[in-house]
Point group: C2
């Protein structure tokens, strides 16, 4: 039974964390809103007044009769099915915990360019964005990446992956975080990356996984842009 | 085996969502950082460079050999153990999805008074806070509460609880959201609450649960204040 992923068709955004897992596993999936009439289909589901278990926002996944929203929740469901979750319960719970920490980081990265309101343009909140981005670059980004570095260093099964001895969806997500931060804050990342060698090595390890290496240059991988979560505005890079 | 909850000792904050579940279940738990030397104990765990599975931030829970962080992840673990999770897998996944939506709302409520940086004082970001709070009151709060209203209305088991026919931790969390929003935005909530009658009725239903009714006036329930997530600043209430 194939998976249906619903997400905004023109950006990587939060949908990319799910896409990376599906791609790495070679799963059979349909990126619905990017196909003909797919966007209308997605909006019908989002705006339904009667659907039980409605999603609050994209991305959401359909699999058989299930509709599942929230990135970390989708990955909690997909992980074991795709062979991308650790085996034991405690390890699974920790992988999920790390994914929720990625979720927090992603929301903060978004708010660097939208600190006032997601419904306003960036141009309407530039002074506020400049202040928030400075705090993000100097305090939050190092705190988060330093945390993941510490998790890798303390993994009793070695420092190659975040949880246990094998890759999980959390590693794919951390790869995407590094990609996104390098896109949005090239200068800040160039200056600071050396402090997180294990995170950078994990990023490179993910990029070399055969299905990821095939996916990244494919048309299925949308480019970063100034419409997504990670945006490159020179004035926010210090 | 009793639970150990670790959270900042002077605020309800994010810890309160866990406390409410433990209290409603009549669980045996220790609110560690509020006891003698508890704060030092919590900081030792947070600052350990060698702990495997370290928490990124409070709250976190210790239960036997497990240390679990992130509110929604803690409740995912506690729910079934406290009799506060739905029975079926799909219902459990949906309760967790709703909890993650509460998590998003809580982060946005926090950012109404800290839109620039959590490390700065409110006084250092008042103009930005005023703009963000306006958007929160007029757009985000109604979007979230309207969503929960819709979930209640569409529940095939009746509109008393969010998932299935019985209360779950997600209901306790929605109660706390209403409490917090009423504290922070009394005027905005007074003007708008009538649009979400099922959410308000759920709030009242939770408040009447015997153990919650006993907990709320007890010294274990910390008061709301201008140190927590939900803060009352008149200028942010429109």
């Amino acid at each position: 039974m194939s998976y249906e992923l619903f997400y905004w068709p023109d950006i990587q955004g939060r949908g990319e964390f799910v896409r990376l897992a599906l791609e790495d596993a070679g799963a059979d999936y349909d990126d619905v809103a990017r196909s003909d009439k797919g966007m209308a289909h997605m909006m019908t589901i989002l705006e339904s007044k009667t659907a039980t278990r409605p999603p609050f926002a994209p991305p959401f996944l359909r699999h058989g009769r299930r509709t599942i929203a929230q990135v970390a929740n989708i990955l909690l469901y997909l992980g074991p099915r795709l062979g991308l979750a650790p085996r034991g319960q405690a390890d699974r719970q920790f992988a999920h915990q790390l994914q929720l920490t990625v979720t927090d980081l992603v929301a903060e990265a978004h708010d660097t360019h939208h600190p006032v309101a997601g419904g306003l343009y960036y141009e309407d909140q530039k002074p506020e964005a400049k202040r928030r981005a400075k705090d993000f670059r100097e305090n939050r980004m190092p705190k988060y990446l330093g945390y993941f570095e510490r998790v890798l260093a303390a993994n009793p099964k070695g420092d190659a992956w975040l949880v246990g001895a094998d890759a999980s969806y959390a590693d794919l997500s951390l790869f995407q975080v590094v990609e996104g931060l390098r896109y949005a804050f090239p200068k800040a990342m160039r200056n600071r990356e050396k402090h997180w060698p294990l995170v950078v090595a994990l990023h490179d390890r993910v990029a070399e996984r055969p299905r990821i290496a095939a996916y990244l240059p494919s048309p299925r991988r949308l480019p970063f842009s100034e419409e997504g979560i990670f945006r490159r505005y020179g004035e926010l890079d210090g």
